[in-house]
Amino acid sequence: MSRGVLSTDKRGMRELGAEEKVGWDEVTQGVALHTFEGSTQSAAFTRPEERAYTDFSSYTATVASWRVVKPVYNRDVCIDCQNCWVWCPDTSIISRDKQMLGIDYDHCKGCGVCAEVCPTNPKSLIMFSEMTENDEALSGWPEKKKKEK
């Protein structure tokens, strides 16, 4: 699967748990885990892909393997309402300047909340089996439903 949306950042660079297993003498004191390399004054004003995340941040880990169903995003139907971005419990909707870009498949757990809250007709986010290719999913996208009386 292509990571696609923001290919230059450190998002999901490694499988969770695949990190180097250092010995007791090298682990941090008291399991205190720093999120960024060095000090930062502006993390809140910096886009995630530009932040110096350490390997202690889950940002750099991928947990894609936890998922069995996935949301597929259809740009053609989307109205950029940001509802999915607001509701996603894992900040896995990638949006820039209020424009929906796609799904962070490294951190999405496949809960389906985004598809549930999507207001468009047909929906711009639909859950598919993890095994289904996105292109295949998009080619069979449902038609607009007529309003029921």
Binding site: K21, V27, G30, V31, A32, F56
Partner: protein, 413 residues
Amino acid sequence: MAKEFELNEVEVWDGNYATSQALRQAQIDVVAAYPITPSTPIVEGYGAYVANGYIDGEFVMVESEHAAMSGCVGAAAAGGRVATATSSQGFALMAEVLYQASGMRLPIVLTVVNRALASPLNVRGDHADMYLGRDSGWIQIDAFDAQQAYDLALCAFRIGEHHAVRLPVMTHQDGFTTSHKAQNVYPLKDEVAYKFVGDYKPVDEMLDFSRPVTHGAQTEEDWHFEHKAKQHKALMDSRTVIDEVFAEFKALTGREYKRVESYMMEDAEVALVLLGSSVETAVLAAKQLREEEGIKVGIISPRCFRPFPYDMVRDVIEDSPVKALCCLDKSSPGGAMGALFNEISAAAYSTGTRPLMTNYIYGLGGRDFSVDEAKRIMREQKAHADAGHITTEIQQFSGLRGPKLGFFETRRS
């Protein structure tokens, strides 16, 4: 700025008041506390100092001891100097959070006033709560009187906050016999005490917004063991820092503390090992027995319950001619030998002399331990030493009504 508290060169303080004065002088940022007999006056006194302007800090009232220690963990992770006090059931309710504090390497100071654990409900002093903390990863230091409760509370901040240690510290004193017994106490002036304790220098504090940090992360079989081993090593290595802080305190005050206190051990043929306010009773009994009956008795008292001073216990045993050692545990052992017996026996087993080891359970729920009873136990040790083997059961009970109770006989001849 906090107001200075005028103190005389010698004050008449009980253990609780002495402890609350030490906490005041350490200028703690946050005390989160819930009252429980007999430790209540420590935080009650502290609350009054806050209200009257003697402390620039926060006093957080919470709904339970679990919340009290949780508040302490949060405040310490945020980057503050933190302390609280508790006893008995309150200590038991804190137990879960005690392990969080030590695993997160937060140098909180907990001043424990030792009290029995229910059931039956009991407010008097024994060592059940102190023993409950022994695997929690905290440093545990025991005061035998009010002066020591004051001194060791000041030392506790220095030890726990040392950057090579970074561990929480409990100071212990016996409920009522120490906490409520007024005696002469020589306090330090505020300025001198604070200078000894020093400014708090936090590490990985959450209030440093330039370095966002996660505290209390979850680890499974892949990382948990390494973190626990590192924590254990820090606890073992804290022995050096404890020795240094005690040496510095002696230079400042003339009052000397060691990880193991020993009395008259140089020529002792028999010895008692015990903790807390009973030490004074035992030392008095030993002196009298030496004069009255010529039995050379010594006393060993681990000042540091954790890290357990195996090294110094071995030295004390090997540097003395002691043949019989009796460990007195003031806590119901719950289907085992007393903890002090187990620890001291382990240390004694690796000496070349290996004295005869016996165990007494005594003083539960505040049952009195008299000079006469101490002497009886000392004479019994003399009988073991003369016979060359243990002449009684290994575990016995002191001051217990009803038929004699004892367990296990020696197979060593």
